[in-house]
């Protein structure tokens, strides 16, 4: 059994990480976030705001100074973060090494693949609006970027998924149509079919309609119906029903909290900054 002793850290202004929509209140939390999100380390995470937090809120002035000097000496951001991880004494050496290796792996990736990793990461965090331009830039990369047709198809599929999550079904449908053109994967067609079952139903191009007529499978409709049924018995819906069973005052309070949370999630996925 091991026990980590937590430093007394006078954090009054937590460190906000926009990508994760997360406030960090301690050096342990910051270490945890860094080591579990190595891609963040490569995308402008190390800046003056981080140094100020380490210096003023975590009360680690000397470490902050060392980090700043390292950064200004031209060392990469991940080395600056490794320094923090070592000094914060939360992560194990093995974890810091694994973090280094992951970063090293990302650095060795061809640019289109790395950009895809970053966009996928944003997608996993629910930041669809932010992921979109990253995917789109991959499509704009010059022809000598060693991008295969299958890779292009995957990127287009992911663009379609982003649009679908943002409820922009017309654009999602167009992206799926193009994706199918490259990958010829029936899964992409299934997604296109499921889109047509949404409200408002997107208008497909002539080619899209033609593809759909040829490939449509009764299994897709069955899957759609199953998901619909599951949605009707979902926990979220149950919470909503419970809310309406309450007395008017508590119902209003609950509704306020729920709508605030929905708005927060919606703003987060629409966020571009």
């Amino acid at each position: 059994m091991s026990v980590w002793l937590c430093r007394e850290e006078p954090v009054r202004r937590p460190f906000y990480i926009r990508e994760l929509d997360l406030h960090v209140f301690s050096s342990q939390e910051l270490s945890y976030v860094i080591v579990n999100n190595p891609l963040l380390a490569m995308e402008g995470f190390v800046d003056e705001r981080l140094f100020t937090f380490v210096r003023e809120q975590l009360d680690m002035g000397f470490l902050s100074l060392k980090m700043e000097r390292l950064k200004h000496s031209g060392e990469s951001d991940d080395e600056v973060l490794c320094l923090f991880l070592q000094e914060a004494e939360y992560c194990l050496f093995a974890e810091i090494n694994a973090f280094r290796q992951k970063i090293s792996g990302y650095k060795k990736m061809p640019l289109p693949e790395y950009r895809k990793e970053w966009a996928d990461y944003l997608f996993r965090l629910g930041q669809y609006r932010k992921a979109l331009p990253v995917y789109q830039k991959i499509l704009e990369m010059p022809g000598d970027s060693h991008i295969s047709e299958v890779f292009l198809g995957i990127i287009l599929n992911n663009i379609g998924a982003c649009y679908a999550r943002l409820m922009r079904y017309e654009q999602a449908a167009k992206a799926y149509e193009k994706s199918y053109f490259y990958v010829k994967d029936p899964e992409v067609l299934k997604r296109l079919y499921l889109l047509t079952r949404m409200e408002p139903e997107p208008k497909l191009s002539d080619r899209g309609r033609e593809l759909m007529e040829q490939a449509v499978s009764p299994e897709w409709e069955a899957e759609y119906q199953t998901v619909r049924e599951q949605a009707q018995t979902s926990e979220e819906l149950k919470q909503l029903e419970d809310l309406f069973d309450r007395d008017p005052i508590r119902r209003l309070q609950g509704a306020g909290a729920m709508i605030t949370e929905w708005k927060r999630k919606y703003r987060r996925m629409q966020s571009t900054s």
Binding site: V3, W4, L5, C6, H23, Y32
Partner: protein, 407 residues
């Protein structure tokens, strides 16, 4: 003087106040009286005076009353013991305030025959009402006062064992002190024994009574002193204000021993302690092991700088009633907390494992636990473990575990 630094020996029969400045002391009976028709309060001899005249109602045995959280009714008004104690205390403080013309209090140490949780709580309440914070008024036992009194004397007086016979209207006690060297820090160990042979001091007023008392003391002395080597022997308490009634006992004590009469031993000891509290660094660099102080270390092994080190939550020699230690830790696995209880000489070790029952399951190293340690008495430690979560990633819950540990 920036403020008064006082030692107060508070007993049921008498109260003695010592101020190291000019070695000034006051001795008054622990009684309080309220005039029947007014709200005027009197203490000590004045209280007796008003009671004899018949215009006041007197309350004695204030500590016993406080200890059982009792009340007293004067002129149709019911007073809580703590209120009476506060009135008494306020009046007591007027004595040094008038003498020195200084109103502010820098430090008070109250010494009690033995530590009583209810009396301590009441004294802290009094302190707050008198505008003192809990650091300005501290409470220690007579045994601890004895230690500080002795350790303030020349080294030759405490090279070997030291003892005190205390004979007062409240009791007859024997205190013994020895200095233990050879450990990381010197330890001073003192114990108190309340002797069953205690008697009413009134018997000393007659010659046969005095002879009987002398015999009693001689038999106690022979039993307690035996062939032990004492650097010094002290006599204190009202019973020893005169020793004419105890020639045999004095003869026994003075055999190859230095004997001192010190009627203000406990209040002066408290004053020395009070003076030490005002210093940034203690002048008494020893571990104090006596009533009211822990005889064990409570530690926890934690990682610091990648190495396992011992974190002391409560140390031998700390006053158990003042310990309120807390630390935030991240255990892995988050299943239990282990505390190590070690005797002061490191000979006895005990590991106490407290399971984190009811704590939420989370990924490794994402459960921060606040460990709070306090003591219910010298032998009973209370441990509270609270779930502090891990920031917004894994929010804290209201879950906590409370466990009493016998040391």
């Amino acid at each position: 003087m920036e403020g008064l630094v006082l030692g107060i020996d508070l007993c049921d029969s008498y109260t003695q106040i010592s101020c190291l400045e000019d070695e000034k002391s006051w001795l008054i009976p622990t009684v309080i009286c309220r005039e029947k028709q007014t709200e005027n309060w009197y203490i000590g001899e004045e209280a007796y005076g008003h009671t004899l005249i018949g215009d006041g109602v007197i309350i004695d045995q204030l500590l016993k009353l406080t200890s059982r959280r009792g009340t007293a009714t004067i002129g149709g008004i019911r007073y809580e013991a703590v209120t009476l104690l506060e009135c008494f205390f306020r009046k007591v403080l007027e004595l040094p305030r008038k003498e020195y013309g200084i109103q502010s209090i820098r430090q008070i140490v109250v010494t009690l025959q033995s530590i009583d949780a209810a009396v301590m709580e009441a004294l802290q309440t009094c302190a707050a009402k008198l505008g003192l914070n809990d650091q300005q008024l501290r409470v220690i036992s007579h045994t601890e006062s004895f230690i500080y009194y002795v350790m303030s004397q020349k080294k030759e007086l405490w090279n070997n064992q030291v003892c005190v016979f205390s004979l007062s209207a409240d009791n007859f006690c024997y205190y013994e002190l020895k200095v233990q060297r050879g450990m990381k820090r010197m330890a001073v160990i003192a114990e108190c024994e309340t002797l069953e042979e205690g008697f009413n001091l009134d018997i000393l007023e007659s010659s046969p009574g005095g002879k009987l008392a002398d015999k009693i003391l001689c038999s106690c002395g022979e039993r307690l002193l035996q062939k032990k080597l004492y650097s010094s022997v002290f006599l204190t308490g009202k019973g020893f204000l005169s020793q004419d009634w105890a020639p045999e006992f004095m003869k026994l004590l003075c055999k190859k021993r230095r004997v001192y009469i010190e009627s203000e031993l406990f209040s002066k000891g408290a004053a020395y302690r009070a003076e030490d509290f005002t210093r940034s660094k203690t002048a008494y660099p020893f571990i104090c092991l006596c009533e009211g102080h822990l005889k064990t270390n409570v530690t926890m092994n934690v990682l610091r700088g990648g190495q396992e080190v011992s974190l002391t939550l409560a140390g031998a020699g700390d006053s158990w009633y003042e310990i309120k230690a807390a630390a935030e830790i991240i255990p892995e696995p988050a299943e239990a907390i282990e505390l190590l209880i070690t005797s002061v000489d490191n000979r006895k070790k005990k590991i106490v494992k407290i399971p984190l029952e009811g704590f939420p399951q989370r990924p490794p190293r994402t459960t921060k636990v606040r460990v709070e340690i306090s003591f219910l008495d010298e032998q009973t430690m209370q441990v509270v473990l609270r779930d502090r979560g891990f920031g917004e990633l894994f929010p804290a819950t209201d879950v906590y575990v409370r466990q009493e540990v016998m040391l």
